[in-house]
């Protein structure tokens, strides 16, 4: 099920919302949210609900065991994380690994299996890993109410494409889930959801309408066309994913849960490190806290810091998908972060506006391998961008127009969390009207969120 579908908007959400606020006690609300998560997830493929439940129950038990047997806490935590990573490894990376090994050493072939990638596995696995590690490091208490914990893992708003919420971030809200619906939360929820929907169906999907055909054959693009396509993709990805994240935050509010924001005007960043503090914040902070710092962070000298940055970003790239293109994209960002750190005194003397533009351009170049279907396609696209060439196939004027509109929006319009939403009647009516307009666009064609594939 996707947020921009008839079944979600006209059936699932109204029923879940009504039942949730009709329920009076905590357990009823936990059970309802947990079940709704299974329905939401099972709509795509019910067979993988078992895997989701196993992941939740296993980490729940691990959390309790860590508190019960503190002397064995480290061993239990590592075992639980290993199980989570094994699940992720089998479903997401096995085929990639087997294929790469077969290419590298044909005499040592692993069987190639057709394994369906369970949607959202990268997200809920990271939820459970962060929970177990937080319990182990005593940053959070182990959940004792199993329904509360399954609600956290199964929460439909963030189940399949994030944000990656830590248990401690919504622990208080979950504990007080039996409270009444507050006007400010309702208004915030509706506003975030509507703004997210506008970003997705009116901006990202319209860009996709013209961009996808243009990228069908990058060999036919001129240099200007290749750059236009790269800018267009940067905008499509931002409006698509930040739109999804806004909707997730909004849906959380509708159920009394404050889900942390995931974007903070990333294309206005003044450096690559700054970009990662603003883009997919829940993932970058997860990688920082559980991987980069775990590897030693910047505590063991300059070169080990660079090594840790590279490792973190390469693994972060691979998290997006089992493909060399993601690995290259991660390595590219690791290299940029290391260079930025290395040249920090010099970089900081560059005017802010120049840094901002340069950062955006570097990020746009990085999106090329991220979007391309293969390394060859990425190389061809980059070649078209950097080696001047003309082409008979002009990029549609509409795509250029959308790029201009998108750039104007990211340069001038505040990020969703910066918009002060007044709890007034006019605003409620306007939000409803905006959602109706979005609905017209939703019915225009089927589209899914780009981050569902990760």
């Amino acid at each position: 099920m996707v947020f921009n579908s008839n079944v979600f908007l006209l059936v699932f959400l109204p029923i879940t919302f009504a039942l949730f606020w009709l329920a009076r006690d905590k357990t009823q609300r936990y059970v309802l949210l947990a079940l709704s998560g299974f329905v939401f997830y099972g709509w795509w493929d019910w067979r993988f609900c078992g895997l989701l439940l196993f992941s939740a129950l296993f980490s729940y038990a691990a959390g309790l065991a860590i508190e019960r047997f503190p002397a064995q806490g480290r061993r239990i935590a590592y075992f639980s994380v290993a199980v989570d990573l094994a699940i992720l490894g089998v479903f997401k990376y096995y085929s990639f690994f087997a294929r790469s090994l077969r290419d590298a050493i044909p005499s040592f072939p692993l069987p190639l299996l057709e394994i369906t990638l369970p949607i959202g596995i990268s997200f809920y696995t990271f939820h459970t890993i962060s929970y177990v590690l937080d319990v182990y490091s005593k940053r959070v208490r182990a959940a004792t109410n199993i329904f509360e914990y399954i609600t956290y893992v199964n929460l439909f708003s963030q189940l399949v494409a994030g944000p990656i919420v830590r248990f401690r971030q919504i622990e208080d809200d979950l504990a007080h889930i039996d409270g009444p619906l507050k006007p400010d939360m309702l208004v915030k929820g509706v506003s975030y959801f509507t703004i997210g929907m506008i970003k997705k169906v009116i901006i990202a999907d319209q860009i996709a309408l013209y961009l996808n055909p243009a990228l069908q054959d990058v060999a036919t693009l001129s240099s200007v066309g290749a750059w236009t396509a790269a800018f267009a993709y940067s905008l499509q990805l931002y409006f698509d994913f930040s739109g999804y994240s806004d909707m997730a935050v909004g849906l959380g509010c509708l159920f009394g849960l404050q889900i942390p924001i995931n974007f903070a005007a990333p294309y206005r960043a003044t450096g690559i490190a700054d970009f990662w503090r603003r883009w997919h914040i829940s993932l970058s902070s997860w990688l920082r806290d559980y991987l980069y710092i775990g590897l030693g962070g910047n505590r063991h000298g300059e070169w080990k810091t660079y090594r840790n940055l590279m490792l973190t970003m390469v693994l972060g790239g691979l998290w997006h998908g089992a493909n060399w293109t993601f690995l290259i994209w991660g390595a590219y960002h690791g290299l940029l972060l290391s260079l930025e750190k290395m040249l920090q005194p010099w970089v900081s003397r560059i005017p802010v506006l120049v840094r901002r533009i340069a950062t955006y351009l570097l990020v746009v170049i990085g999106w090329v391998p991220f979007r391309a279907d293969s390394l060859d396609a990425a190389a061809l696209w980059l070649h078209r961008m950097f080696v001047p060439s003309a082409s008979a196939h002009a990029v549609p004027v509409a795509l250029t127009g959308w790029v201009a509109v998108g750039l104007l929006l990211i340069a001038t319009v505040p990020e969703t969390h910066e918009i002060r939403v007044p709890a007034i009647r006019r605003w409620a009516f306007a939000s409803g009207f905006a959602l109706f307009i979005c609905y017209l666009f939703i019915n225009n064609g089927k589209s899914v969120f780009l981050y569902y594939q990760f």
Binding site: P180, L186, Q216, A392, A394, G432, F436, F441, N443, K446
Partner: protein, 361 residues
């Protein structure tokens, strides 16, 4: 004690105020959603931009798309009346790609009086309905029937506006009211439909020349694009990406061919043969670039294989068949096209030659 009671009462009052405020905001939000939705649906019904609704009182706003089906019936009547002693000996059936086949040229090749009864977005059932209309209602017994078959015509996915709904008498299956509403409401609640409503209102204020039209024999004419060609301003590539995306959307919603539409097609072939006609079925296709674009990430390749299998099945019924999905053998440069989905007169002439090559006058 009084202070405690007063404080509790004040908290209670605040809570009630907050609650009633929450619900009034929620109600306003819903009013913002559904109020304009109801108004819009009413307006769309009244404007009726693509003639989804048969309104006895007529249509105050112009249609933004030609009402091909009604128009074809009127044309056939006029065509028969113009030469009552010359029956229609050749019939073109199929979807919009068949509509481009020139009935006059076909007549010259075959010596038969041709009528083009191709219908936009025709499915198998539309083709059967058109044949039955010509033979049953109008008493015409064609000697040669050319049927255009394509992947799109064998899908179940259809919208009411693309069907024979405005000609309920032609439709082989009358939808129930519920089925009708299920199909029409989501279609109306889409931006493309809203744009049609706005365009219809705009055209009521500022009338325009028709973009397409028909020759008296039913052949489709792209008047606007032909005008552009004459003026040298036509550019096929300009519209390709948007056009390809729209074609792909149709396929994205389809994962299998419809057995019912295949059955309708076979019945068409058998009924024409039963009346003594020679039947030629040809597999049509979009611009090669469009076909390649649709094949990635959709079921198009499998659907196309299915359509080719259907072509084999109608060949087994005795029909002559031609696989012209890939037009590169006829048009290597890929330039004989009006848009990403419809070839122009140059390619139509080439197709007509292939389809009538074996006909002996």
């Amino acid at each position: 004690m009084d202070a405690v009671v007063s404080s509790a009462a004040s908290i209670h009052a605040r809570s009630i105020r907050a609650s009633s405020r929450t619900w009034s905001l929620g109600a306003l939000f819903l009013a913002g959603c559904f109020g304009p939705a109801i108004l819009y649906l009413g307006l769309a019904y009244y404007v009726n931009p693509v003639r989804d609704f048969a309104v006895a009182a007529g249509h105050p706003f112009p249609a933004v798309r030609s009402d091909y089906r009604n128009e074809k019936l009127t044309l056939l009547d006029a065509y028969l009346e113009a030469a009552p002693r010359q029956p229609v000996g050749g019939l073109v059936l199929g979807s919009s790609r068949s509509m481009l086949l020139n009935a006059e040229r076909l007549g010259r090749h075959t010596g038969l009086r041709f009528f083009n009864f191709g219908l936009a977005s025709a499915k198998g059932e539309d083709t059967l309905a058109a044949l039955r209309w010509s033979m049953g209602r109008k008493g015409q017994v064609p000697k040669l029937v050319l049927i255009g078959l394509d992947v799109e015509s064998l899908r179940d996915a259809r919208s009411i506006g693309d069907s024979l709904h405005p000609l309920r008498e032609l439709a082989t299956g009358e939808p129930s009211t519920l089925e009708y509403l299920e199909a029409i409401v989501p279609r109306m609640a889409a931006w493309s439909y809203a744009r049609s409503v706005l365009l219809s209102i705009y055209f009521a204020v500022r009338p325009r020349q028709p973009v397409v039209g028909f020759a008296p024999d039913g052949t489709l004419q792209y008047r606007f694009l032909d005008g552009q060609r004459r003026a040298g301003t036509f550019a096929l590539s300009a519209d390709m990406p948007g056009c390809m995306a729209l074609c792909r959307r149709k396929i994205e919603e389809t994962d299998a061919l419809s057995p019912a539409q295949v059955r309708y097609l076979k019945t068409t072939v058998q009924e024409a043969q039963g009346a003594g006609a020679k039947v030629v079925v040809w597999l049509t296709g979009p611009h090669p670039q469009t076909a390649a674009f649709m094949a990635v990430g959709t079921e198009y390749s499998q659907l196309l294989s299915g359509a080719r299998a259907v072509l084999g099945e109608v060949a087994a019924l005795g029909a002559e068949t031609h696989d012209l999905h890939d037009t590169r053998s006829l048009d290597p440069a890929g330039e004989g096209w009006y848009d990403c989905n419809h070839f122009d007169n140059t390619n139509a002439t080439r197709v007509e030659h292939v389809l009538t090559a074996s006909w002996e006058q």
